[in-house]
Amino acid sequence: MKKSLIRGRRGAAAFALVGAGAIVLTACSGSSSPSSSGSDEGSGGSGEFTYLGQIQNTTIATTLTTLSTGACSAENEAATLSEDSIDSSTWDQQLQLLAGQDALASISMAPGTPALMQDFISSGKVVDLSTELDTLGVSDKVLPAAASTIEALYGADALYALPTEFNIEGFWYNKQLLEDNGIDVPATWDDLVTAAGTLDAAGVQPFVASGGEGWPVTRLVGDYIFRDLGADALQKVADGEASLTDPEYVAAADAIAELGSAGYFGASPGTVDYDTAMNQFLTGGGAFFYMGSWAVSNFNDREQNQIGADNIGFMPFPEVTGGAGSIDEVPANAGVPVMLSSATYGDDTAAWLKCIVENYGDVALADSGQVTGFAVTEVPADQPELTTLVQDTIANAPSSVLWFEAKFSAQGTSVSQTNGGALASGQLSGEEFMSLVQAANEG
């Protein structure tokens, strides 16, 4: 009895010690309040202008390098550009860790999850570019459409990231395959499904998509929702006025799941990665390829593109008959824009910012064929037709919409995209998919 009492007391003491130790250690672990914005640590100039990007995106790094030896060479002398890159699969994790230690690069690609960027904005980790560009007198160098797309994405009243890309999304199609099978460019969802059936019967894979990445499939769900329920349908979900499990939203996921059940995405879309899908389309392995206009650089690359750039057409996501949305509402995004860290922002970085905003658009278009959200002063004489097509589509679009996960939480985005492949292979029904994503969004 006595022994058990002593043992009990010792146990309680050990438990108390563990608890107290844990609380003391955690209390020392970091600030419980967000850091204040606009740190002026870098105001004196650090002598270095650091860039951190994703390995998969070489355009930004290449363009910055070109600027550092050309238009921005004076800025580069004051603060030398140094570049680093990491894999996109762990991008958001890395940014979270760096931001938590105020160790973000001077300029870096923004998080893939808008909710994380909102955290950066609310905790003052990134520079308010609207104010800074006004101060530098270069606000007019950012296209209003691109600025408003980024502001809408982050739900902010100001610009917090630069549009190093400005993309439209839609179906790119193989003209030859459609012509060979007597198919006109589909204008409605029903036409598209009928065309897919015709192609499948002819032994042609109707859709090419990377189910491994997931988003090329979930984009279709989002676009169907926009066409069927209107441009504000996903904002209603974000605001809690509607749920993804509502029948009208489930119908969108069901429409895509039916394509998957019919095998229109190929044998095993869940294991197809981005590069494989791109290669498949560019070697004639499928008729329709939903993708953003950033892929135009791949389409214009003769080594990659075996079907020929002239053989590729673009069609907007088709209308859903009787739907509230319009085919003119172009899905648009700013790719992965770049943000500037408040912790290192100073005079040298401001000089770099001004130079980038003034020159990036021209250099990226001339060197990489990249359409950006910056004003362009010189259009290259030998600009490829597909690039011109993208520019014209952007110029003529009366309005734009975002994408399926744009307003989701980090968990919602992750769950949606990891289940995109299962939707494309018909293993998940629309209802199952939407239930998973809604639950993840609710945390």
Partner: protein, 294 residues
């Protein structure tokens, strides 16, 4: 020398550096993590004390329960298979292959030294279904069957993970258990044979009881290793299709670093630690009882 070790202060001085490093690297993070389980938030948005809410949430979170169920299924099945196959191979080395066993041991141990990612890549190519068929599907189609989406279906993906990890690890357990079997005195086996024991009877009555300590170690190694599986699954399926092959470790990683919920991520880690602890204690107790009875 004895007098040095008898001097408590001298002994303490000698172990102090190692103890300090161990405390900083192992003990402090554990306490830190326990503290995080009572918080919500991350380093960017700040932390808020939520008491035991994270623990309550764990038991109400379907994704966590699914991950826990996957982890337990995977751990139990793979432990049985890798220790069972390893034991079978060890018996084969000792009783049948004897001195010729060294090259077989080398061949079967080879997968253990291969990098996990390389093995996962190899298996994903073996079972590939798109854009072209891998060797397995090529054989199936050559035999008149149709191509199977092995890694795209949750049930088959689970079995491929099991198969890959079994292939990768059974050589290790075979060597480990072989070391235990060669320690059994030849006289004991000989006297057993003289008494009429042979084949399965010899294994059941003499070999298993005498190799129980090393068998126990193998089971504890295996169950703890498999409960904490991470790299093989990330490399082969990344937890997919969907979340069908997501173990607790991967869910913890995503929760902490992709979703930015450090508190809940630490809670998942704590639950996994408790699970490992419980299973280890259970195995120790049940095996000890058997040995005493035997």
């Amino acid at each position: 020398m004895d007098s040095v070790f008898k001097d408590r202060r001298a002994a303490l001085l000698m172990i102090a550096p190692a103890l300090l490093v161990y405390t900083l690297v192992m003990i402090v993070p554990i306490f830190w993590s326990i503290g995080y389980t009572t918080l919500d938030g991350n380093a960017i948005t700040g932390f808020e004390f939520v008491g035991l809410d994270n623990y309550t949430h764990f038991f109400q979170d379907p994704a966590a329960i699914d991950a826990l169920w996957f982890t337990v299924r995977y751990a139990v099945l793979l432990t049985v298979l890798q220790v069972g196959c390893g034991y079978g191979l060890a018996l084969l080395y000792v009783f049948y292959l004897r001195h010729k066993a060294s090259w077989v041991r080398t061949v079967l141990f080879f997968p253990v030294v291969l990098p996990t990612v390389a093995v996962a890549l190899m298996f994903s190519k073996f079972f590939q279904a798109a854009p072209t068929d891998g060797p397995v599907n090529t054989i199936i189609t050559a035999l008149g069957g149709s191509s199977v989406d092995w890694l795209g279906a949750s049930s088959s993906a689970f079995w491929i993970i099991i198969l890959m990890d079994l292939w990768r690890s059974m050589g290790f357990y075979a060597v480990l258990l072989y070391a235990g079997l060669v320690d059994i005195p030849a006289e004991v086996l000989e006297s057993g044979r003289i008494d009429g024991a042979s084949g399965l009877t010899l294994v059941r009555r003499i070999v298993i009881p005498l190799s129980l300590p090393v068998l126990l170690s193998s089971v504890i190694f295996s169950i703890n290793g498999t409960l904490k599986v991470f790299d093989t699954i990330v490399a082969l399926t990344n937890g997919g299709p969907g979340s069908a092959t997501t173990p607790l470790t991967l869910y913890m990683f995503r929760t902490s670093f992709a979703y930015g919920e450090y508190g809940y991520g630490s809670t998942i880690a704590m639950m996994l630690t408790l699970l490992c602890l419980l299973v280890t204690v259970f195995i120790f107790r049940s095996m000890r009882r058997d040995v005493t009875k035997g």
